[in-house]
């Protein structure tokens, strides 16, 4: 597989064309992240359980390159799958996911994403060899981290 095909795996192409979790609702608490270099934008919401302990859903809207949009879509899918499997994320779980994702994406191809944990989102491993695109892939995850920080600050 060429570098370009590693970057643009079919999963990524599909998710960028038919994104999951796309669509915000009134009342969503959102974080808006923007890549000033190319204008990629992601506005993302974490929808928590009534008691505020678990993420039930990730919703988002955005525009931009296929990597940024596919990453947001795959992030939403991952959240939904874990919730459906009866293992919805706590704030701590989510932070661990974000940390692992960032570490892999910044590893310049040295650390692949664990398919067991990341599912289809592991296809984003290929981005890590393309330093200029890491920020694209991180947008949705940075938005989630921003929301976690704000939630923690509110206590």
């Amino acid at each position: 597989m060429s570098g370009l095909e590693q970057l643009y795996q079919q999963i990524i192409m599909d998710n960028s064309k038919a994104p999951h979790g796309f669509g915000l609702a009134e009342g969503d608490v959102t974080s808006h992240q923007r890549n000033p270099v190319c204008g990629d934008e992601v506005t993302l919401a974490l929808r928590w359980s009534a008691d505020g302990t678990h993420v039930e859903e990730v919703a988002w809207e955005g525009s931009g390159c296929s990597i940024s949009q596919a990453s947001a879509s795959l992030f939403a899918t991952l959240a939904a799958e874990d919730a459906d499997a009866g293992t919805p994320w706590t704030a701590d779980d989510l932070q661990v996911f974000i940390d692992e994702f960032r570490e892999a994406l910044r590893s310049r191809g040295q650390i692949p994403l664990d398919e067991e944990r990341f599912g289809d989102a592991a296809a984003l491993s290929g981005v890590s060899k393309f330093v200029a695109r890491v920020k694209c892939a991180m947008l949705a995850w940075v938005a989630a981290e921003d929301l976690l920080t704000r939630k923690a600050a509110q206590g």
């Binding site: 370009l4 190319c38 695109r133």
Partner: protein, 444 residues
């Protein structure tokens, strides 16, 4: 669209393009062109962002450090004298290139600093600094600064900020749907209140020459200063600020095959010596007491501190490189390349090329939007083929917004660009939609 032969750019007449042999010799001077990327020879089509460096420029800068390094304009030892001479020779080389006087050439760190320098000097005049000499340049509420909608952020934001500091109003000449400056609208924007017109010589997004022959007289008629951003013209066509009748012109060394960290501000002598300085420190003064200082005339007035000596020397070597090739021959060669690029892109389905008609004077530069594919993704396909092209908004967000795009893919040529490289770029762009499986215009 009917395609007729495009006219030569202004100031270019009968010069012959480089022959194949000459082009080969030019290419041999750029060591970076020997690099391979992903198993293919590098195709560098991002000269508008920064030009590659011929060996002689790299060597000139290194030789200064090896053989003559010393601080300039101070000290009396032999090295200090040699370094000062080399630095001032570099200034003279720039002055000849621009057909202006040596003391009208200020070295800055880049074009952005040059534009900030002039904006801040005018801002300082507006604060009452510089006394009676500077007073005519002071701005206040009711005055207007005029730019165009296609400006690079470097020729927009300093004026936004100057307007905010002085109470002046910033106005702009709009562009049309293709991104061409609307000359008819300019007559309604430039008027009795206009004090400054700041405009680029060549657009860094469309490659089009600005209609200076129409805009400058409008500014002159109302006594406004004219500031020219010549970053995208200096490497490609003759740049003679006096013939263009502008008061200030700036360009970057690194886009002219010179080092990074060096730029040039040309200013009319009377203007430079009337304006108060922008940055303050050593090497710019006559007398200093604990209370106040008196300043040298230009150029020292605007070059406080130890200047960019090696970079200025490198830039002078780059200018010798360009003038030995012949700026008119560079323009003729790049004109042919530009025509090939635009005609080739016109045949590619599913893309939009910014800029007015193919016949409008341009440098060898084109920005395109591939319908249904983000510029970042399109650029990745080119990169994979060893083609370096720019993606993004090219520091011109307002123009992209006006043209209904957040980002574009830009191809820009240099003296070393071959017709084969342009063919490769066009073929690569033509293949982008297929790679991403886009068959119809589905721009989301």
């Amino acid at each position: 669209m009917t395609l007729s032969p495009a006219p030569y750019p202004e100031g270019v007449t009968e010069a012959a393009p480089f022959t194949a042999d000459e082009l080969e010799q030019i290419r041999a001077q750029f060591p970076i062109l020997r690099r391979d990327l992903y198993g293919r020879p590098l195709v560098y089509l991002d000269s508008a962002a920064t030009a590659q460096k011929p060996n002689r420029v790299i060597e000139a800068e290194a030789a200064f450090y090896r053989e003559a390094n010393a601080a300039v304009h101070r000290g009396a030892h032999t090295l200090a004298g040699e370094a000062t001479e080399l630095y001032e020779d570099a200034r003279a080389t720039v002055a000849r290139f621009l057909a202006v006087d040596d003391d009208e050439v200020i070295f800055t760190s880049n074009a952005t600093e040059g534009l900030n320098l002039i904006a801040y000097a005018i801002g300082n005049a507006s604060l009452g600094q510089g006394g009676a000499a500077a007073a005519p340049y002071a701005l206040s509420a009711g005055d207007e600064i005029v730019v165009t909608e296609l400006e690079h952020h470097a020729n927009l934001i300093p004026w936004q900020e100057l307007a905010a500091r002085t109470g002046a109003t910033l106005r702009y000449i709009p562009v049309d749907d293709h991104g061409a400056i609307d000359v008819d609208a300019a007559t309604g924007v430039i008027g009795a209140r206009t004090r400054i017109l700041a405009v680029s010589h060549v657009s860094n997004v469309t490659g089009a020459h600005s209609p200076l022959e129409q805009l400058v007289p409008l500014a002159r008629a109302v006594g406004a200063l004219v500031v020219l951003d010549a970053c995208q013209s200096a490497p490609h066509l003759a740049l003679h600020p006096r013939e263009l009748d502008v008061d200030v012109a700036v360009f970057s060394g690194h886009k002219l095959y010179g080092p990074t960290g060096i730029g040039v501000l040309y200013g009319r002598r009377e203007l430079l010596n009337a304006l108060p300085p922008f940055l303050f420190g050593g090497s710019m003064i006559t007398t200093v007491t604990m209370e106040r200082a008196e300043y040298l005339p230009a150029p020292q007035r605007f070059e406080p501190g130890t200047p960019r000596i090696a970079q200025a020397i490198g830039l002078a070597e780059a200018i010798r490189f360009v003038t030995e090739l012949g700026i008119d021959r560079i323009a003729a060669s790049e004109h042919a390349i530009g025509e090939q690029l635009l005609r080739g892109l016109a045949e590619v389905p599913g893309i939009r090329v910014f800029g007015a008609s193919i016949d409008a004077p341009r440098v060898a530069l084109a920005s395109v939007v591939v319908e249904g594919v983000h510029a970042h993704d399109a650029g990745q396909v080119l990169d994979n083929l060893g083609i370096a092209a720019r993606v993004g908004h090219h520091c011109a967000q307002p123009l992209h917004r006006r043209l209904g795009a957040t980002a574009s893919l830009r191809i820009s040529a240099g003296v070393h660009t071959t017709t084969d490289e342009i063919d490769q770029a066009i073929a690569a762009i033509a293949g982008v939609r297929e790679f991403f499986g886009v068959t119809e215009a589905t721009n989301r």
